[in-house]
């Protein structure tokens, strides 16, 4: 079990790194997907090993998948919108919220 | 929602609807507001009739709503009720509001805001006349100030900002005194309460000094609103600068709130203070009568003349209030409130009609309008006569009641001097009539003046009918109020 959790942690860390560093908004979104997947791995692992009889872990994973899909949809729509308005999707293009 | 609440809330609902309408839809806005004010009009007249047949004999508070707890920690309650002195004023408010809204159809600038403010104003006025809890009373009292300020300040004449600020600050200055007095009452009552009915009963048990202080504080607040000489100077400015309909409301209803407040609150609440102050109040009233009439005579502006005549006419009310022990005088005071509302309201409407056509209110600029505008002149003449107290019209009834009643109840010399106001009243009114309507007609200058139109006729006709009715057959109105007034007088004479 430890290995599975470690895999999740590693994947999560990768996703985090991606979120923090990618210049491209689509890239950030992809990294987010990685983080979701890391979380899913953990859920499924726990579902198998911890206090069985319930399928809660897998169900949560299902929901997360759905939410991730929704998030991706909206996120990408926003990206398109941003692209249309700013002619670019570099994440430091839209720092309009500074100060 | 009881009938009294509906009086307050329908204008508010109307206001919300008006605010939701697009601002280009001027016609819709106008008719919506008129609709929203017709409901309270109908309700208030229905209440008047119902009260007359159902409650006038006892004179008790009717249509009571509450007291419901509102802010329990402060013992603030939602408490409404109406009796013989508020019912006629409610009807007057309903009527004048609707008529004023009709008379506001010529407003073209920021129509939406204008009508929204107007409806808010109406809600406030209705609220003051039905509130039985000091907190509510104070809120409604203050709520009216804001729309009034904007109505004068935005849609007014050349010196509108000055007039609006003066009105606002002056009235606010008075309200502060009222607030202090209310707080004194609140903290001296056990348990702490803001219920007017309770406080009226318990007010006479306060120590004399405290009664005196509260009485004077309330008096200042109300006197500014009336306005009693020498607190009257906001009135001419506000009247002259305000748009016609606002002048109507100002003269017709707002001034009455001062006297209503005295009758409802401070008079019955502090009998000991009242007894000692009665002479001075009557004196202020007498000064107001003579002073207002004399100053009216010097006016060159039609609206200002009517405004100062208001000072004089409200002086009659104060004289009567000074003679509180006489049922006749107090009834006369109520009559004067109603009839002054009708007459002066109509006069302002009519001056507005003329101003709209001629773009001036200078008395000297006119002359001989009687031959060019016979219908308008006749109506104006009618109300001018009503204003100077011609028998058969409402002003006469109230003046006679006040004089006859107060003669036995306050200093007789004072009353005798006040009677001079009748002659001076005739003098300034006739002077105005003569200069504007009689004499030579300047065809070149005023040849294009048009006769009063149908809408304007519709707005003044109800006022004419009521003025005539009250003047010819005042008994129903007396019966409507007398039981309540007798109860109040009993309270005042404790």
């Amino acid at each position: 079990m430890w290995y599975f959790l470690a895999l999740g942690a590693a994947l999560f860390a990768l996703g985090l790194f991606g979120v923090i560093t990618r210049r491209n908004t689509i890239g950030i979104l992809m990294s987010l997907e990685l983080m979701f997947n890391a979380a899913n791995i953990n859920f499924v692992t726990f579902n198998k090993c911890i206090q069985g009889g319930s399928m809660a872990g897998q169900l949560f994973a299902v929901f997360i998948v759905v939410i991730a899909a929704a998030e991706a949809t909206v996120g990408l729509a926003i990206v398109l919108l941003v692209y249309r308005n700013w002619r670019g999707i570099g994440s430091d293009h839209y720092n309009v919220m500074k100060w | 929602m009881g009938p009294l609440s509906s009086l307050v809330y329908f204008p508010l609902i109307g206001m919300v609807i008006v605010m939701c309408l697009p601002k280009e839809a001027k016609v819709a806005i106008r008719w919506t507001s008129v609709g929203a004010s017709i409901i309270p009009l109908v309700v208030s007249f229905a209440l008047t009739i119902d009260y007359f047949f159902g409650h006038a004999a006892t004179g008790l508070m009717a249509y009571v709503e509450g007291p419901y707890d509102w802010i329990p920690s402060l013992n603030v309650q939602y408490y409404l009720g109406a009796d013989g002195i508020s019912i006629p004023l409610l009807a007057l408010t309903g009527l004048l509001s609707t008529l004023s809204l009709l008379a506001s159809f010529n407003i073209e600038n920021r129509v939406k805001e204008y009508f929204a403010f107007f409806l808010l104003l109406e809600a406030g006025m209705m609220g003051v006349f039905v509130a039985l809890d000091f907190f509510l009373f104070y809120i409604f009292w203050e709520v009216m100030l804001v729309p009034m300020y904007f109505l004068i300040g935005v849609w007014g004449g050349p010196r509108k900002e000055y007039a609006a600020i003066k009105f606002f600050l002056y009235t606010l200055f008075g309200s502060i005194f009222m607030l202090v007095a209310i707080l004194i009452l609140y903290f001296t009552s056990t348990p702490h309460t803001l219920n007017m009915m309770t406080l009226i009963q318990s007010g006479s048990r306060l120590p004399y000094m405290l009664q005196m202080i509260c009485f004077i504080f309330f008096f200042i607040a109300f006197a500014i609103k009336v306005p009693v000489w020498p607190f009257h100077t906001w009135l001419p400015d506000a009247h002259v600068e305000a748009p016609t309909a606002v002048s109507v409301i100002l003269a017709g209803v707002l001034l009455k709130m001062g006297t209503y407040g005295m009758l409802r609150v401070s008079w019955p609440m502090f009998p000991a203070a009242l007894k000692d102050m009665a002479f001075w109040i009557a004196l202020l009233g007498a000064i107001g009568i003579i002073y207002g009439a004399l100053v009216s005579m010097a006016q060159k502006d039609l609206k200002k003349l009517v405004a100062y005549s208001s000072v004089s006419h409200m002086g009659y009310c104060m004289l009567a209030l000074g003679a509180f022990s006489s049922a006749q005088a107090i009834t006369g005071c109520m009559f004067q409130m109603v009839s002054h509302g009708l007459i002066t309201g109509a006069l302002f409407l009519l001056v507005g009609v003329l101003y709209e056509r001629a773009h001036t209110r200078e008395i000297a600029a006119f002359g001989g309008l009687g031959s060019k505008l016979p219908v308008y002149s006749s109506i104006m003449f009618f109300f001018a006569m009503a204003s100077l107290g011609l028998p058969g019209l409402s002003g006469f009834v109230s003046e006679v009641m006040i004089f006859l009643g107060s003669f036995g109840a306050v200093n007789q010399v004072l009353v005798g001097i006040s009677v001079l106001g009748v002659v001076l009243g005739a003098a300034y009114i006739l002077r105005m009539v003569q200069r504007v309507f009689l004499g030579d007609f300047d065809l070149a200058k005023w040849g294009k003046l048009t006769e009063i139109n149908t809408l304007e006729l519709v707005t003044v006709t109800p006022l004419m009918v009521l003025t005539l009715w009250i003047g010819v057959y005042p008994k129903p109105l007396v019966d409507l109020m007398s039981a309540t007034l007798n109860k109040l007088i009993t309270l005042m004479q404790r």
């Binding site: 985090l16 979120v19 923090i20 560093t21 950030i28 994440s91 430091d92 720092n95 309009v96 919220m97 500074k98 100060w99 | 020498p230 100077t233 906001w234 002073y291 004399l294 100053v295 005579m297 010097a298 006016q299 049922a327 006749q328 009834t331 001989g368 009687g370 031959s371 107290g389 011609l390 028998p391 058969g392 006469f396 006679v400 004089f403 006859l404 009643g405 003669f407 036995g408 007789q412 005798g416 009677v419 001079l420 009748v422 002659v423 001076l424 005739a426 003098a427 006739l430 002077r431 003569q434 309507f437 009689l438 004499g439 030579d440 007609f441 005042p474 008994k475 007396v478 007398s482 007798n486």
Partner: protein, 703 residues
């Protein structure tokens, strides 16, 4: 009929309403309707008079409650007693004549219908006044009469003089009404009722102090002074002649001005309780009669002469009534009441006639100035004839109506030598100026040929009323023939029936006085035996004084009108400067005060605040770069913090003051490091942004 007498005032009111609302544009119908109503009224009045005669002085009263207070009722009602019945007949008679007469006189007036509407309204008010059974109601109609009088005097309102005259009439009578109101208040306060009977009973019962009764009576008399144009409020009546002549005849000769006399007669039970009040009344009457008669001697305006004559005759009546009150209060017998009321009736007839005749003359020659007339007898035979009958009547020539009433008046002054002498003097003057008028108008040579040539007899609608009234002027006095057992005196007499004894000596004396007056006029103006101009020149100061009407108008203007107008103006400036100045001064002080506060605020309080703000801003100048706006930087920050916390926990550092301090220091150092890092990142990544940063810092400091 007596029971339904209330209908009488309503017929003219109906006419008024119909004309105003429906018949305004149908002149013929309007006038016809109006005339029909008043003629019906006239018939009804005659019936009522007959019924009143049948009741032998008993009165009829009916009332409805108008409104009531705890102590006090206001009611509407009618009271019909002989006095009322007589007044009804007078009013309707003259009213009918005037309305018919106006058909011709007002023929081409653009506001013809309106004229009839006003006349009807006036008759409504006047009849209401007469029928009233209490003081409140009489006051109401009293005021309405004043209003209609105003409307009618100002009927030709384009003329400034007419408008002025109307205003003057209204305001002057209102001054009198002022006293009336005070009198009403006294009555209300001390008698507790307004009903005539109630008040009189109360007055007679002696429970009310005599002083109060005197005051109340005098104050009520003030109303009469105003309405009946008595000294010192007589000034409005001559000016009121600016109105159309039928109006002058109706209102200012026969009816409205008689209302004051009627009021005094009606209130007689009140006056008889107070000799003082009655003496005041009598004196005022005498003074008025004398002043007006003397002014009338020298006037040249035909209507004004008649107006002063009216004032003078009214003074007669008032004087007679006052003397009656005085004598009765002193327990003596007096004929004054009969004299006053009888003269009221006869005067209405011949004065109405005189005015209508004058109107006829004016209609023909289009001027009021008698110096421009002359010789009109030839052109207007009927008018001249009737006019002279009336002049004889007013001069008191046997057996015309004026003779009988004037004889009674002279008789009533018998106990008072001063009154007696002056009354005869006035009678002399009356005869003189009336016949001066007659001679100048109808006899001699025309003094203005042009006007004379255009003169013509008036149409039938105008002359027939003259004839009718002339007949009345001859006969009206006969009801009071002293030889009649149940004549006028016993009919109208206040209190118990009374039978006047004929006093032949007085009759002869007064007739001689009148004849000498006429004779003097004949000498001066017909025979020209005595030159009027020479007399005028001889008594120049007196002539000037009389010609200028004792300067009453100027005096009033000087001591009343102007001071009041000035006072108004003064008060206004007082209002604007002092009262309002106080308000604005308060506002100004507040502003000054707030300015001071503002200075204090800006320099000291705000200085401190700004100092603190400056410190914060300086310290925050760098930290604000942490707020870079880039999402990822925030994410990094969060992740870093989480990692830091994780490490912190992992190494299990416990909470001791030292460690907490150390950690805080590390945290701060970390922050500062972060700041530099982020700032440098900024600078490097976006030079433009860096410039902006600098600019922004500058801007902040500028503020």
């Amino acid at each position: 009929m007596t029971q339904t007498a209330w209908i009488i005032p309503f017929l003219p009111l109906l006419a008024f309403t119909m004309i105003v609302f429906f018949l305004r544009w149908k002149e013929k119908v309007a006038s016809g309707f109006s005339i029909a109503m008043i003629v019906i009224d006239w018939v009804l009045s005659l019936i009522i008079l007959a019924e009143a005669l049948g009741r032998h002085g008993a009165s009829y009263e009916a009332k409805i409650l108008l409104t009531s207070f705890k102590t006090f009722n206001l009611e509407l009602g009618i009271l019909i007693d002989p006095l009322t019945a007589m007044m009804l007949v007078i009013v309707t008679t003259v009213g009918s004549c005037v309305q018919i007469y106006s058909l011709g006189y007002m023929k081409d007036d653009p506001r013809f219908s309106r004229f009839y509407a006003y006349l009807s309204l006036f008759l409504f008010s006047m009849l209401g006044l007469v029928l009233a059974n209490n003081y409140f109601m009489i006051f109401i109609f009293w005021e309405l009469v004043g209003l209609t009088s105003y409307l009618l005097i100002s009927f030709w309102f384009e003329k400034k003089t007419a408008a002025d005259a109307g205003k003057k009439a209204f305001i002057t009578t209102r001054v009198g009404d002022l006293g009336f109101i005070v009198g009403l208040m006294l009555i209300a306060a001390y008698c507790g009722t307004f009903n005539y009977q109630g008040v009189f009973e109360k007055a007679a019962s002696g429970t009310v102090p005599v002083g109060i009764l005197t005051a109340a009576a005098i104050f009520i008399f003030c109303g009469a002074v105003g309405k009946s144009a008595q000294f010192p409020l007589h000034v409005w009546l001559p000016d009121a002649m600016e109105g159309p002549t039928p109006v002058s005849a109706l209102i200012h000769a026969a009816t409205m001005v008689a209302a004051g006399v009627y009021l005094v007669a009606r209130s007689m039970p009140l006056f008889v309780t107070s000799a003082d009040a009655s003496m005041v009344v009598a004196s005022i009457g005498l003074i008025t009669a004398f002043i007006a008669a003397s002014i009338g001697l020298v006037q040249n305006d035909i209507k004004r002469i008649l107006a002063y004559s009216t004032v003078s005759q009214l003074g007669y009546m008032i004087m007679a009534l006052g003397l009656y009150g005085y004598d009765t209060a002193n327990g003596e017998h007096s004929a004054g009441y009969v004299a006053g009321t009888l003269h009221l009736m006869t005067h209405a007839c011949f004065k109405g006639l005189l005015f209508l005749g004058a109107g006829s003359v004016i209609h023909a020659v289009h001027t009021n100035d008698i110096q421009e007339m002359g010789g009109l007898r030839a052109k207007q035979p009927r008018t001249a004839m009737t006019f002279m009958i009336a002049s004889l009547a007013i001069a008191g020539i046997f057996p015309l109506s004026g003779f009988w009433s004037k004889d009674e008046i002279v008789a009533s002054t018998a106990h008072h030598p001063l009154f007696f002498v002056l009354t005869l003097t006035i009678a002399f003057m009356t005869a003189f100026y009336m016949w001066r008028l007659c001679f100048l108008t109808f006899f001699g040579q025309p003094r203005n040929q042009h006007r004379y040539d255009h003169a013509h007899e008036s149409p039938g609608t105008m002359t027939w009323p003259l004839v009718f009234l002339a007949a009345l002027s001859v006969c009206a006095g006969w009801v009071a023939l002293p030889w009649l057992e149940h004549g006028f005196s016993s009919f109208v007499y206040h209190g118990e029936p009374h039978h006047a004894e004929p006093e032949y000596l007085l009759m002869i004396v007064s007739t001689l006085v009148s004849l000498s007056g006429i004779g003097l006029a004949w000498l001066m103006y017909h025979r020209k035996a005595i030159s009027a101009d020479q007399v005028a020149a001889k008594f120049k100061p007196i002539y000037t004084l009389l010609y200028n009407k004792y300067y009453f108008d100027e005096l009033y203007d000087l001591i009343i009108v102007r001071p009041i107008v000035n006072l108004g103006n003064k008060l206004w400036s007082f209002d604007a400067n002092v009262v309002d100045g106080a308000v604005n001064g308060t506002a100004w002080l507040t502003v000054v005060w707030s300015d001071a506060k503002q200075w204090f605020d800006a320099t000291i309080v705000d200085g401190a605040v700004n100092g603190a703000g400056w410190l914060v801003r300086q310290s925050a100048a760098g930290l604000r770069f942490l707020q870079s706006g880039t999402l990822q930087f925030y994410a990094l920050f969060i992740a870093g913090l989480v990692a830091a916390i994780g490490l912190y926990r992992y190494f299990g550092i416990s909470y001791t003051p030292t460690t907490t301090g150390l950690v805080t220091i590390f945290f701060l150092i970390g922050l500062i490091v972060l700041w530099y890092v982020s700032r440098s990142i900024w600078r490097r990544s976006t030079p433009a942004a860096a410039a902006e940063v600098e600019e922004h810092s500058v801007r902040v400091e500028d503020k």
